[in-house]
Symmetry: C2
Subunit: 124 residues, 2 copies
């Protein structure tokens, strides 16, 4: 019926408080869009063109779910042609900072991860 409902649902924590956030932004495009929107407001097609490999459907889907959780705001400028502006909310910016920290961890330990993978692949 829909085809556009939120891709991400948050359920049980199982004693790990980070689980909710991880599953919230652990989908394919949320972190990319948060990263992009952190650089200022964006129009729809701007986003569409900026991210290669991102289909229009998943763009809307992801934006909606981010908007739903108050991480992204959408302001519609009616007129011809119509234009929608997307931007991070304060909450979104605050989350984005956490993701930045994670990003720093990633680049710092990237080599160790790939090294571990090679080891694992070689041993068996």
């Amino acid at each position: 019926m829909d085809g556009l409902t939120a891709p991400v649902t948050v359920d049980d924590h199982h004693g790990c408080p980070a689980t909710a956030v991880l599953r919230r932004v652990g989908d394919k495009w949320s972190p990319v869009l948060l990263s992009l929107l952190a650089r200022g407001g964006y129009g729809f097609n701007e986003l569409d063109r900026s991210v290669e490999g991102l289909s229009r459907r998943m763009l809307i889907r992801t934006l909606r779910s981010l908007e739903r959780d108050g991480l992204v705001s959408r302001t519609v400028h009616a007129g011809v042609p119509p234009r929608s502006e997307y931007a991070l909310t304060d909450l979104g910016r605050s989350l984005r900072e956490q993701l930045n920290a994670l990003g720093r961890w990633a680049v710092t330990h990237e080599a160790e991860l790939t090294a571990a993978r090679r080891r694992y692949a070689e041993h068996t």
Copy 2:
């Protein structure tokens, strides 16, 4: 043929360095297991019994993928009965700290997220 290959794969970054980590630990059980193993070494059945709702298959699958990336170590004690011990590596502990930070963010802003959801659901 397999049924046990790694559940998580890390691909493109798309300009967001956090993406890799998020998709690495954004699956259902990785954060839970990391959180659990942070409290010390664990045997297989201990883990199996500790986490409710976690099937044996997904337990092994997730442990293997964590081991593959050097986040978790497995030491097999042959004998009768056989026993496998799982623990965090240094890399795993370092990642776990980052997830703790995310967890703190989660509990701090939990209310804002649910409030935003209510607003969104009510408006349409």
